[in-house]
Symmetry: C2
Subunit: 336 residues, 2 copies
Amino acid sequence: MVKITDVARHAGVSPSTVSYTLSGKRPISAETRARVEESIRELGYRPHAGARALAGSRSNVLALVVPLRAGINVPVVMRFAVSVVTAARAHDQDVLLLTQEEGEEGLRRVADTALVDALIVMDVQLHDPRLPLLRALDLPSVMIGFPAEPAGLTCIDLDFRAAGEVCVEHLAALGHRVVALIGSPPEVYVRQTAFAQRVVQGFTEAAARNGLRSSVHPCEATPAAARTVAEQLLREQPALTGVVVHNEAVLEPLIDAFEQLGLRVPGDLSVTALCPDELAEHLRVPVTSIAIPSTEVGERAVELLTRKLAGLPVPDTTRLPPRLTERASTARRSLA
Amino acid sequence: MVKITDVARHAGVSPSTVSYTLSGKRPISAETRARVEESIRELGYRPHAGARALAGSRSNVLALVVPLRAGINVPVVMRFAVSVVTAARAHDQDVLLLTQEEGEEGLRRVADTALVDALIVMDVQLHDPRLPLLRALDLPSVMIGFPAEPAGLTCIDLDFRAAGEVCVEHLAALGHRVVALIGSPPEVYVRQTAFAQRVVQGFTEAAARNGLRSSVHPCEATPAAARTVAEQLLREQPALTGVVVHNEAVLEPLIDAFEQLGLRVPGDLSVTALCPDELAEHLRVPVTSIAIPSTEVGERAVELLTRKLAGLPVPDTTRLPPRLTERASTARRSLA
DNA sequence: GGGTGACGTCGAAGCGCTTCGACGGGGGAC
DNA sequence: GTCCCCCGTCGAAGCGCTTCGACGTCACCC
């Protein structure tokens, strides 16, 4: 293994000069720098991570805690993880993978052993048991998702409220006057995360603001439930021409059900959804949708962490604006 | 931060004694051990990872390189990653996540900086450019998948050949005499990984061994292609009663096509597949299938690595036996 | 022309841990 | 009873790097 003293000898300087050349923490003359850099290249020097962490009290590693819970969207998590790693590398950091299974003990471990400099925690619940620990730890952290009480933490996620609004605005702009939100199973609304409620909020308020008639319908994640909701909707809201679906599992069955009930999409009914793009694209009728911007969330999370590590101020909460992708499932309301 | 000297002082011993208590590398009397352990607990001591890595030249971290290539099955990768992390923790190791994007340079970096002790490389291609590097590096590594020339490397994967065989044996045992393999798109067979060919091999040989008539049909990953293959099969092999599908994307369209052509599954046609269990389970007719045992692969990979790190011998190649899960899509051949 | 910084570099002191050699004491072998 | 060896423990020497204080040199100012 080639070490810093080897480089120093080869370049005819002291080890500290090599160190300063690398870190830029003190001025080094152009010639010396050139000589040192040449030596580094020639010898293939790579500083030892452990030694660096020990002396510099920075490991240049950040921990990423991924969820395991049933019901999480695996491809979204994966895309997110990859974007975190990529963004981290751009900031000269590596990423240690932790599973949620390790829980608070895992967080404490990597923090106490100084294995990592910072934490990214995904899938944060409203009353996440890890919150007190994260507040107490002196490591900077960023969480994906919003707990009930985000003060003193740094949180980031899609702005679900705005997502609900944008869907409605889109339908309103197309002339639709009666809209419905077909949501997640009832238990989701009383549960650990608040994003489902936020979508409802945004949906309802935007509808009111635009003078639309609107209703909200939770729906179990089964084709049968989808069918039932569709039938009920037709019965109770015959004037309905626009729906927002926030329930990936029933998006396809729902469209099938509507079409079997004689409603053409988008001819008679415009459909928008909150779901991953892959799903929206690959349906028989590609669906106008808003996706969770997993890549952007990952990048921004790393960026926030980097700023915190540098001692710069960061906002407590950042809500990413939704981006609606128009596809074949929405159209101007026919005036027939 | 509490350090080893704090513990030593508190327990009235020397730092080296604390170290030996922790590592077990030298005998420590029961009383001393108890005293030290109590001090550790009381003070909440956690050894500094960097210091440990520096002094002990072991970081207790292993790198996991995940693929990004289009066409990989994300949930499978994710499940695999999680099982690696879990297994690694059981061996007191942490896991650093690398993306394939970083390529050979990334491997070299984590190796040269001594950030990690060992490597797990997923999605290894037949002529993977990383192979020479992995051979040259003095870090132990395990690869998921088999390159063309696995000598000197440690590889693990599902035994695809046996998987092909098992499907045929299952059909043969049910009395089927004419079988077909519906495979991946043609390009897969001339491409980077060999597993597709191995399935064909196993399929063909098992068919011959059992005296079955058999044929192999590559198939593009589109519903239209599925339909075409189904029609062709009916025309050319009217006596066909069993198929093996090794192409996730067309499994559902294929079954649809067969049923639309008047063949009932499993009444007239038994279907087995190589695909993830989730897919097999959630089809209209749940399909008898063999899945890639991602969890097991992950565990075994970590185990192999642990043995290598301990200097123990490991086999160059380990092929995990396929496990066929019987579902509703296969039945005894009707003698009608 | 001497004082004063700023610049560029060096030496040495750690960072917290592991490990090697050494050493005292007690038990077994003779 | 003596010798030897092994058990249990200690002290000290690093592991490879960062960083702090110090120092020499040169340019510039009054």
